[in-house]
């Protein structure tokens, strides 16, 4: 069946298996075929595709237990984050860490060790995981945690499915008083301004910046930085206080067809970015925002990936170490703005410290933005790779669809250790089109 990631590029013809329980998964992994697990297909590129066996884990989607004293929720790996919110937010619980879409599976969140707007404060998804059960190529299931089977735990978090199939996990949820976020928007006239706001706001629970990737010259890096806190009961109006977990239902829209490529050019994108910035200026200051609009604005447009046309798109996301961030980001933004092929939404975020064997984050700044696929884009991405390497940065595998094995090896000193762990522990049965491309 034709399969791609969220970016709809590349597309491969892969054999997809749909197990319903542990025994079905065992039958698949203990065969001779190479295999990779797939969650909800929200990684952008080819990390959840294996031509001979792509194991769609969405059939294993039962919630198994909840401890209201500790907030620990046990689930099968195919449970979708949005379903956890639907079941538990009305009871006063929210995920500790969430990416920018609620349509990810727990298995996918673990395998990519995803980060949210609170990485600088709460770390990556790893910090909310008490244990994970992983099935190896021999069909045995191992429970690993920060205390037991630590090597397996360290490499499964951020290991992109390359250590085995995640079957179940126990996560800790965060108690919240309301379903609302107190949001502060601060405009930043330049990259330096935006970074200053981030550095001043280290105590804010959530922080993220939307950055106008087509502004040039003295406007280079102009952004809207938004900070957020879970609103307490006192923050709500008396009317809302009566039902603190009720929020207006977000209306979803869908994109009915692939946008023609001519709709996306530097003029339309520049106009969109400028308008977005101006709209943001009007929303300066503090407002209460419901959880869905705050964390998942893009989810309201169901298949927005069609906006970039039928050829699909690529997302670029790198992280630069703190000391090299300002210089590196300026150079990246300059290159993007002068190429004129920026995206609708470019995101800048400050990461805190990160511990783990192969996860993406490191202390510093991360920049993410997408480009419609074209020859020009491929060339631009090569330039962005080179700038990232020159500043000691690395790349997010959950977004990658085209980087070379060489680039990965230069960006990440942890690659040889990861490779040798794979051979030693008999993890090499698990591979994706991406891991083959990257020689993992």
């Amino acid at each position: 069946m034709k399969l791609s990631g969220w970016g709809r590029y590349p597309v491969h013809d892969a054999r997809v298996e749909t197990p319903r329980d542990e025994a079905d998964v065992r039958a698949l992994v203990t065969g001779k075929r190479q295999a990779i697990a797939r969650g909800n297909g929200r990684a952008y590129g080819d990390s959840a595709i294996n031509l001979s066996a792509t194991i769609d884990m969405r059939g294993l989607n039962r919630m198994l237990g909840f401890d209201a004293k500790t907030g620990q929720l046990t689930v099968e790996a195919g449970v979708i984050l949005g379903d956890i919110i639907a079941a538990f937010l009305p009871r006063g619980w929210f995920p500790m860490v969430t990416p920018g879409t609620k349509f990810v599976s727990v298995g996918g969140a673990i395998a990519a060790d995803v980060h949210g707007k609170n990485h600088h404060k709460d770390g990556s998804f790893r910090n909310s995981v008490d244990w994970v059960e992983v099935m190896g190529a021999d069909g045995t299931v191992t429970r690993c945690s920060p205390r037991d089977n630590t090597a397996l735990f360290d490499h499964t978090l951020g290991g992109m499915g390359l250590t085995g199939v995640i079957l179940r996990a126990a996560l800790r949820l965060r108690p919240v008083e309301t379903a609302w976020i107190r949001q502060i928007t601060r405009p930043a006239a330049s990259l330096k301004d935006a970074m200053d706001i981030f550095e001043d706001a280290k105590d804010a629970t959530y922080s993220v910046a939307w950055i106008d990737c087509l502004a040039t010259g003295r406007n280079l890096g102009r952004s809207l930085v938004t900070l957020g806190e879970h609103a307490s009961l006192e923050d709500l109006s008396t009317a809302n206080r009566k039902a603190p977990f009720a929020t207006p239902k977000t209306r979803t829209r869908s994109v009915p067809l692939d946008f023609p490529t001519f709709a996306l050019n530097k003029f339309s994108l520049r106009a969109f970015n400028a308008a977005y910035y101006k709209a943001g200026l009007r929303q300066q200051g503090t407002r209460l925002v419901d959880w869905d609009s705050y964390f998942y604005p893009l989810d309201a447009i169901l298949d927005w990936n069609r906006i970039y046309g039928a050829r699909g798109f690529a997302q670029f996301q790198c992280v630069l170490p703190l000391e090299a961030s300002e210089a590196g980001l300026s150079e990246l933004l300059d290159t993007i703005a002068s190429a004129g092929s920026g995206s609708f939404l470019a995101v800048l975020k400050r990461f805190g410290a990160q511990q783990s064997a192969f996860s993406f984050p490191m202390e510093g700044y991360t920049l993410a933005l997408d480009f419609p696929i074209s020859a020009k884009t491929h060339a631009l991405l090569e330039d962005l790779d080179a700038i990232t390497l020159a500043h000691g940065g690395r790349f997010y595998l959950a977004k990658d669809s085209r980087m070379s094995a060489d680039t990965l090896a230069h960006s990440d000193a942890r690659v040889p250790a990861f490779q040798s762990q794979r051979t030693e522990n008999d993890w090499t049965r698990f591979s994706s089109v991406q891991s083959q491309r990257l020689a993992l």
Binding site: R62, G65, E76
Partner: protein, 245 residues
């Protein structure tokens, strides 16, 4: 006010679990009855966690008809709504060769479900209210060479439901017949089904919930199947017997 429970018979089925979820989302406690009921522990946990209702498990074999009255009396609460999704397709080719296999298909789709619904019907009639739901199949609307053993058993079950509805109409007990066309479940996992005619289990769940709430008698899921079967039923036998459909 706490609601009376909904009983699902044959609860290891995907359709059965989808129906259970649809009612649980409305706040009904759920009774899941199946063979090897203990295997439903994760399903019980899942429904309890997502929908915040209580779920109980009950051992049940539709073919052990001598146990059915006892099964009903042993239930901790007499349900308000009881749904049978019990069914077994078998292999048509095997059913032609092996008469025991064919008998098993007939008993699993007709005798077993009819027997347990009869026992429940009597209890509901005595109470003076409740809804019985039988999940039959469009395959029962006309016998076809490719699956007439299964189809004829479903036809029997559909007729049974219609008669039961007629008998109970004045007692306050309502009977709903659910006729799915194709549904993407374990039963059909190996078949290549046309997407436009194939429902997801949750569609059957939502349609069943709606039929019970509105007191509908017979529903097709998806609704296009009503038209398809109307046409198929009306093909003259002289022509029909020569067709391969």
């Amino acid at each position: 006010m706490t609601k009376a429970p909904v009983l699902i018979l044959g609860a290891r089925s995907d359709i059965g679990q989808a129906i259970a979820r649809a009612f649980a989302a409305e706040g009904y406690p759920i009774q899941l009855a199946a063979r090897n009921a203990e295997t439903l522990e994760p399903v019980k946990a899942d429904i309890e966690l997502r929908q915040n209702v209580s779920v109980s498990l009950h051992e049940f074999d539709a073919l052990a008809t001598e146990t059915h009255e006892g099964f009903v009396t042993a239930l901790p609460d007499l349900p308000d709504i009881a749904v049978s999704v019990v069914g077994y397709m078998g292999e048509q080719a095997e059913n032609e060769r092996d008469l025991d296999a064919a008998a098993r298909v007939i008993r699993s789709n007709f005798e077993g479900p009819a027997s347990i619904l009869a026992a429940l019907a009597n209890a509901f009639e005595e109470r003076g209210g409740g809804t019985l739901v039988g999940v039959s199949s469009v395959a029962g609307d006309r016998g076809r060479a490719t699956n007439y053993v299964y189809g004829s058993a479903k036809a029997g079950f559909t007729a049974f439901l219609s008669g039961l509805r007629n008998r109970l109409a004045k007692t306050g007990v309502h009977v709903v017949t659910v006729l799915p066309g194709f549904v993407a479940t374990q039963m059909t996992a190996d078949m290549d089904l046309p997407a436009k005619l194939t429902a997801a289990p949750d569609e059957v769940g939502a349609a069943t919930l709606k039929a019970v709430k509105k007191g509908q008698n017979v529903i097709y899921v998806r609704r296009i199947w009503w038209l398809i079967m109307l046409i198929i039923r009306n093909i003259p036998e002289a022509i029909f017997k020569k067709l391969s459909i």
